[in-house]
């Protein structure tokens, strides 16, 4: 019956006791209890528990560990003689939902999940199951605990939850675009009835704005869902800035926002994935325009895009607006996928995609912002 302690003289004492506690009233015949493990080379009753693909430990009423298996030792160190909470969590207090104590109290099986720290410092989620060990009088004398590392399961669960949330947000974004398309089309239809050109123009403006919306939306979704390798071409940063700004000329005029560019003519042509850097600039400029557009302060709004040397090996794209600005919490979250403050207007993908692209180029994005004053994004890239 004593399957654990033979290899470890330090455990003998506590296990002699356990042995007494656990001894069944009638001993089973030797060969029956040992026949299966003996059939497998290298495995016997003495090391069976050590080989179990989970952590096994036995605790007494004071939560002191009496026994641990090899797998436990490998990941948490030899915890025998210590309290389980100090081994699992380096904590002097017991865990709030301690399943071991519950099993001592109600003599039943218990299951909990805990976040613990391995000896190598790694944080893990484990699923713990406990069951009581009884003595001859039916009293609980110890609790055996089996724990499984479920960290990966937890990560997968989180991803699924994020995915669900993402789909809800995506459909929210699409519904808004659809509203714009249907609404704009309605206005155009009405204008035909009256042959009212001014109304037609207004309606068509709404439609075409939302067609842009669909295009941006789809581009960003595709980019964030695919891990596309970069395709480098030689390009002029100044020209990229001019191209992107040209795209937004009409939209900015419609929003009464001035666009300005500042280009250092000495910047050489550089190796870039042109399509994806264009998307970064488009996303940042569009954000800047929107930050101005939703700003209710009565001031002249301006979005300026600058490209210049950062140092001798790097150049910079700098997108500055004098719109609403962001508080610190927002600044911390802007690069998270599906984070958006734009509610109806955002997919929460634009900046996440921008950061992904810039990081892939070996560059970085910096942001400084003051609520009420405006925001500055710096994209710093190698000259190569």
């Amino acid at each position: 019956v004593n399957v654990f302690a033979e290899n470890d003289p330090g455990l003998q004492d506590s296990f002699l006791q356990l042995n007494l506690i656990m001894a069944p009233k009638k001993n089973r015949p030797e060969n029956e209890s040992s026949s299966v493990p003996n059939a497998i080379p290298g495995l016997n009753l003495n090391n069976l528990v050590d080989h179990l693909p989970c952590y096994v430990s036995i605790q007494d009423r004071d939560l002191q560990i009496l026994y641990v298996n090899e797998n436990f030792k490998k990941d948490f160190g030899d915890g025998v003689g210590k309290k389980c909470h100090s081994v699992y969590k380096s904590s002097t207090d017991k865990c709030p939902n301690c399943p071991v104590q519950k099993t001592f109290e109600d003599r039943r099986l218990h299951i909990t999940e805990e976040t613990v720290q391995l000896a190598n410092g790694k944080i893990c989620q484990i699923l713990i199951q406990t069951s009581p060990i009884f003595n001859e009088n039916g009293e609980v004398t110890a609790v055996i605990e089996m724990a499984t590392n479920i960290t990966q399961v937890k990560i997968d669960q989180k991803e699924l939850a994020t995915l669900g949330q993402s789909i809800a947000l995506l459909s929210h974004g699409l519904k808004n675009i659809l509203e714009g398309l249907q609404g704009g089309a309605y206005v155009v239809d009405e204008s035909f009835k009256d042959e009212d050109m001014a109304l037609a123009r207004k309606g068509w403006q709404i439609v075409s704005k939302n067609i842009y919306g669909v295009a941006d939306f789809v581009k960003n979704i595709l980019y964030s869902s695919k891990n596309r390798p970069l395709k480098y071409d030689l390009a002029s940063p100044g020209q990229l800035v001019k191209d992107s700004l040209a795209l937004f000329k009409e939209r900015a005029a419609g929003m009464h926002i001035r666009l300005r560019h500042q280009i250092n003519p000495d910047i050489p042509n550089v190796q870039l994935d042109v399509a994806s850097i264009r998307m970064v600039l488009d996303n940042l400029i569009w954000n800047a325009l929107e930050a101005c557009h939703i700003d209710k302060q009565n001031k002249k709004h301006l979005v300026s895009v600058k490209t210049d040397f950062f140092d001798k090996d790097h150049f910079i794209f700098e997108i500055t607006d004098n719109g609403t600005g962001m508080d610190e919490r927002t600044q911390r979250n802007i690069f998270e996928e599906f984070f958006s403050t734009k509610g109806s207007a955002g997919t929460g993908l634009g900046l996440a995609v921008a950061e992904k692209v810039v990081n892939k180029h070996g560059g970085r994005i910096e942001v400084t912002s003051t609520p009420g004053k405006g925001t500055k994004f710096k994209v710093i890239l190698k000259i190569q």
């Binding site: 609404g183 709404i206 734009k342 109806s344």
Partner: protein, 158 residues
Amino acid sequence: MAENLKIVMIDDNTDFLFTMETFLQRNGFEVHTAEDGQAGIDLIKKESPDLILLDIMMETLFSGFEVCKQVRSDDDLKDIPIIGISAMGDELDINYSQWPDYEYFRPDSFLEKPVDKQRLLQMIPEVIQKAQKRKRSPKWKKEIEKDWAQKASQKKRS
């Protein structure tokens, strides 16, 4: 029905405001619009409309929910029916039900973007009629609280 009915519409999306204004005017309603919550409240006080169409997910500090709250807490405005509009659809009720006092202030009805315009035309008289039948007394908030307490204790007993 539509004749002489006055609607205040609050939404921070100017395109949506324009579309809906065009639609509602062409169906015989008098429409006044505001682009944020504060301007909306001022407009409601000035116009005492028969109905409020409200974007509940506005990005301004003064959210749609805040507008509901101010309307319902004002003795002169509390019975004006509100239709809440958002692209959030099903998720919406869940999100907003976490607000404190949501039950007192919630809109009378919801409409999802993209707006089904024919459904909106059906909904307007329904919502207005319902609101006329159910006038809130000046102590309506206390009454609802009492009603709730009763329901809660009934639940416990059963």
